[in-house]
């Protein structure tokens, strides 16, 4: 049994400790907001927070998450009103939407560390997240907008 804290809730899961966190989230706990895109740390669709840091859950063994706080897109904000979620909706960023949970989770860590990122900061922080539909311009714009909301709220 591995004890996990995901989105503030405790779970005990009976899986091989080498199982990537991604598949524990998706298959065992039915938290399917975190996506599979490549399985080899190339696309960012699977990004979650581990003790506040962005990790690629497809290459993160579940054993590494034991005793740490895991946050997924489902738990990013209890009311679903994280500044990034608001900005994403405001700018209607999504096309197919498949990459967007990973984009938002990566951006959330950026915004925590950098209250007013430049385009360059955004590009640096987000280059690990592929959007096959090509919504990058709106992602950039939405991160700026979310940073603004965050500053205003603070």
């Amino acid at each position: 049994m591995i004890k996990l804290t995901i989105n503030k809730k405790e779970h005990n899961v009976d899986v091989d400790p080498d199982t990537p966190l991604l598949w524990v989230l998706r298959d065992t706990l039915n938290l399917v907001g975190t996506k599979y895109g490549c399985g080899v740390a190339q696309c960012g669709a699977c990004v979650v927070h581990l003790n506040g840091e962005a990790v690629r859950s497809c290459v993160t063994k579940v054993s590494r998450a034991e005793g740490k706080k895991v946050v997924t897109i489902e738990g990013l904000s209890e009311t679903h009103t994280h500044p990034l979620q608001k900005a994403w909706l405001d700018l209607d960023v999504s096309q197919c939407g498949y990459c967007q949970a990973g984009q938002i989770m990566s951006a959330a860590v950026l915004l925590k560390e950098n209250k007013n990122p430049t385009d360059q900061d955004i590009d640096d922080a987000m280059a690990g997240n592929i959007c096959r539909c090509g919504t990058y311009l709106r992602i950039r714009e939405a991160i700026h907008a979310a940073a603004k909301i965050q500053r205003q709220d603070a």
């Binding site: 895109g37 669709a45 939407g97 498949y98 997240n129 096959r132």
Partner: protein
């Protein structure tokens, strides 16, 4: 079809019924024949799909639900199609509930996502659906209040009778409306008075997306569901020889390992039943990770499949096609294309006397362009859920064309169509890839065999190496100039593996007196399929780059040169069957000239490239502004102009154009898949480069030509000309022209791709 029926099908025929518990449900049959502007693959869409039905429900407590008929793959039809109904129905868009419809070609029409057809084919029928419902509601209110129907007005889901001051919600009279005869001639709104359509509305699933709700095929789950994966041969052209699964079967979570045949020998395939591998080595287990691990323990021997046969059904009866068994190599593919390019080809169009014109030319410009196979790389890999029993089948997942898959399923499962239920989930991208439903058929056969609900999942590696790629293309363009540098003849000879890309009746056909278009093709076992603007996505790169060179040789500005040709095509068109409207084509060029500040001194700091193209009945032009960044060419800014008629949802349409531009830049620079002994050399994103945020422009400024023409295609048309504009900007940036895609490879590495 009986005569009575067929007459009926051409008139508005609408059906209404009362909802259980009160309310109105209307299936509206439209008038419009489904006639896609562009063929996909080699087949036409079935003739019988000549009716399109909307689907609206209004309950007594005033809930208004609009069913979206077409699968959603990111083109935002789940928003734009219901908007069209809502416009004519006159309801408050914010209160409308939108739901994705099940596969039901009778009630919901063709339900095909692809060919930039969704809005085009549903535009009239859905408007008629909304307008008829509104009329019936008005009629019901008039009867209730005892006033003439002409005096009833509507606004945002409310009915009003001004003289008496009476008002009601749609829901109040919905049950009565269900008894009102369906109107025959429905007057549609003036397009100038729209207040839902032509106004930006947010993606109806936006919130679900940003909060991680289950939406996609891979998110689907079911009581007792198992996970299945297929081990396919490492190389295209190989097949299973033998396998030893003893170690796999010992792995935790594994339920079964077995082989299946997708199609029996001689099976008549439909046009979209493309399959790369027929023998399926299947591993079924409890969870994704367990199956992934267990697969690694398989000991498999593969062998060369040799030449095989495909059988196609269709109107002309059963036809046989030999699929060559060669294990292909990219070097050899290029070599073969060069050999074929020198052989005589099929003439596709000829105007005037091109041979003589070329003979008499003062100058001939000749250039050859090539482009590699491209993998679609939808963000969500191929997958499908299936639960097949002896009596029925439930299939759930991402699919662009359920209507094309169902007939094959009927044959494969030996079940009647009405026992096969297909539900379409939101798709994590499609780009044409999900019009080919082999993964759904595989899922169905696996479920049938294991007698359990299963979800078939392709890993990224499975997805990228399976085939169904954008074909490999080449084309040689020749232009003849006379002594005064007038363009007197134009010749294009294009080919590819396994098809040629040439659209013979498109620009500059019609604008040059002497014109010749030819095509040839090389058979291959590498499977290919529609990829965002099939063929056009190559032509626009080659032809638009070539036209730039011709303009330069003639000493003309590239935009003015194109406009002169279009003027000719409009005033004294050459030949017949010119597909494009020269005025609309010129329109986007003029718009982009203005918007981009073409030739303005303040834009001198950019290396500018322009291109325009026509496809899917729409017109697109881009100006690409390139700079050098960190030693690499970088597209910093793009201006885009589109003429796709009425723009249903402007902000979402802008998003779509911006996405197409990014996609185009990415594929032009980096896209490409190569083979070594049949093995795809790219199998994940560490080897197949996809454009990333730092490579995306800072700004993409999108303008739409304002007109009241019924909507034409949008998802695809802005994509092809990006390649041409990038090629032309690269010439300015590098000082030399690049003819071989992907462009970033020759830039950084002189080796041939």
């Amino acid at each position: 079809m009986e005569k009575g029926n067929s007459t009926n099908s051409r008139r508005a025929f609408l059906r209404s019924s009362a909802l259980l518990g009160g309310g109105l449900m209307i299936h509206f049959s439209g008038l419009t024949r489904f006639s896609p502007a562009e063929k996909l693959g080699n087949i036409d869409l079935p003739e019988q799909w000549n009716e399109i039905n909307g689907y609206v429900k209004i309950t007594a407590d005033n809930l208004i639900k609009i069913i979206c008929p077409n699968p959603e793959f990111g083109q935002n039809v789940m928003t734009s199609l219901p908007m069209i109904v809502a416009e004519e129905l006159d309801v408050d868009w914010k209160k409308v509930i939108v739901e994705m419809g099940p596969h039901d070609n009778v009630k919901l029409g063709p339900q095909f996502t692809g060919g930039s057809n969704s809005v085009r084919m549903y535009w009239r029928p859905l408007r008629q659906a909304g307008a008829a419902a509104r009329h019936m509601l008005k009629e019901a209110a008039a009867q209730t209040w005892g006033v003439p129907v002409e005096e009833i007005t509507t606004k945002a889901g409310m009915l009003f009778h001004e003289k008496s001051g009476k008002s009601a919600k749609y829901g109040d009279v919905a049950s009565k409306a269900a008894t009102v005869p369906v109107p025959k001639d429905i007057k549609l709104k003036d397009v100038k008075s729209f207040n839902v359509v032509r106004h930006s509305q947010k993606n109806v699933e936006g919130e679900k997306i940003v909060t991680g709700k289950p939406l996609f095929g891979l998110d689907y789950t079911h009581e007792g569901m198992l996970i299945a994966m297929i081990e396919h041969p490492p190389a295209i052209g190989m097949k299973l020889k033998s396998f030893d699964a003893s170690k796999t079967l010992q792995m935790p979570g594994v339920k079964d390992v077995f082989t299946l045949k997708l199609f029996e020998d001689g099976f008549e395939q439909g046009g979209f039943d493309t399959r790369t591998f027929n023998d399926l080595l299947v591993v079924v287990g409890k969870s994704t990770w367990e199956v992934m691990n267990a697969r690694k323990k398989l000991v498999v021997e593969w062998t060369a499949a040799g030449d095989t046969k495909d059988y196609a059904g269709g109107r002309n009866g059963k036809t046989e096609r030999i699929v060559p068994g060669e294990l292909e190599n990219t070097d050899r593919q290029y070599q073969k294309m060069r050999e074929f390019a020198d052989k005589p080809a099929q003439q596709l169009r000829k105007d005037g006397d091109p041979e003589t014109a070329f003979k008499n030319a003062a100058q001939i410009i000749e250039r050859t362009y090539t482009a590699p196979f491209l993998a679609h790389n939808c963000m969500e890999p191929m997958n499908f859920f299936a639960h097949v029993t002896d009596e029925k089948a439930l299939l759930v997942g991402p699919l662009q064309a359920p209507g094309w898959t169902e007939p094959t399923l009927v044959k494969l499962l030996n079940l009647p169509a009405d026992k096969i239920e297909i539900q379409m989930t939101r798709m994590g991208g499609g780009f044409g890839r999900r019009a080919y439903g082999h993964y759904l058929m595989e899922a169905a056969l696996i479920s049938k065999k294991v007698k359990a609900p299963i979800k078939l999942m392709y890993t990224r590696e499975d997805d990228m190496t399976y085939g169904v790629y954008r074909p490999m293309y080449t084309a040689t363009y020749r232009a003849a100039l006379d002594a005064n540098k007038n363009l007197i003849a134009f010749h294009v000879k294009g080919g590819g593996i396994p098809e040629h890309p040439i659209h013979a009746n498109r620009f500059p056909a019609g604008a040059v007196d002497n014109y010749l278009a030819e095509g040839w093709q090389i058979p291959s076992n590498i499977t290919t399929g529609a990829f965002r603007a099939p063929r056009s996505n190559f032509n626009a790169a080659a032809e638009q780059s070539f036209l730039d060179e011709v303009a330069e040789a003639m000493g003309k500005d590239p935009i003015e040169f194109r406009l002169e040709l279009l003027k000719r095509a409009k005033e004294t068109p050459v030949g017949k069957n010119n597909e494009y409207d020269a005025d609309r084509y010129a329109g986007v060029l003029k718009l982009i000239r203005d918007k981009s500040g073409w030739n303005k001194p303040e834009n001198k700091k950019y290396n500018r490239g322009v291109a325009a193209y026509f496809c899917h009945s729409s017109y697109a032009a881009h100006v690409v502004d390139m700079v050098m960044k960190d030693g690499q060419p970088y597209v910093e800014r793009v201006f885009s102009a589109m003429d796709c008629g009425i723009v249903v949802n402007p902000d979402a349409a802008t998003n779509m154009v911006q996405g197409a531009v990014v996609d185009g830049i990415g594929n032009a620079f980096y896209g490409g898949l190569i083979h070594k002994d049949g093995v795809a050399q790219q199998n994940n994103f560490n080897k197949y480069r996809i454009i990333r945020i730092n490579e995306a422009p800072k700004k993409i400024d999108v303008s739409f030509v304002q007109n009241d023409i019924d909507p034409t295609g949008l998802g695809e048309p802005p994509f092809p000309p990006v390649f041409g504009a990038v090629a032309n900007a690269l010439y300015k940036t590098l000082g030399n022209r690049l003819y071989q895609q992907p462009f970033a490879v020759p830039v950084t590495d002189k080796r041939a791709f």
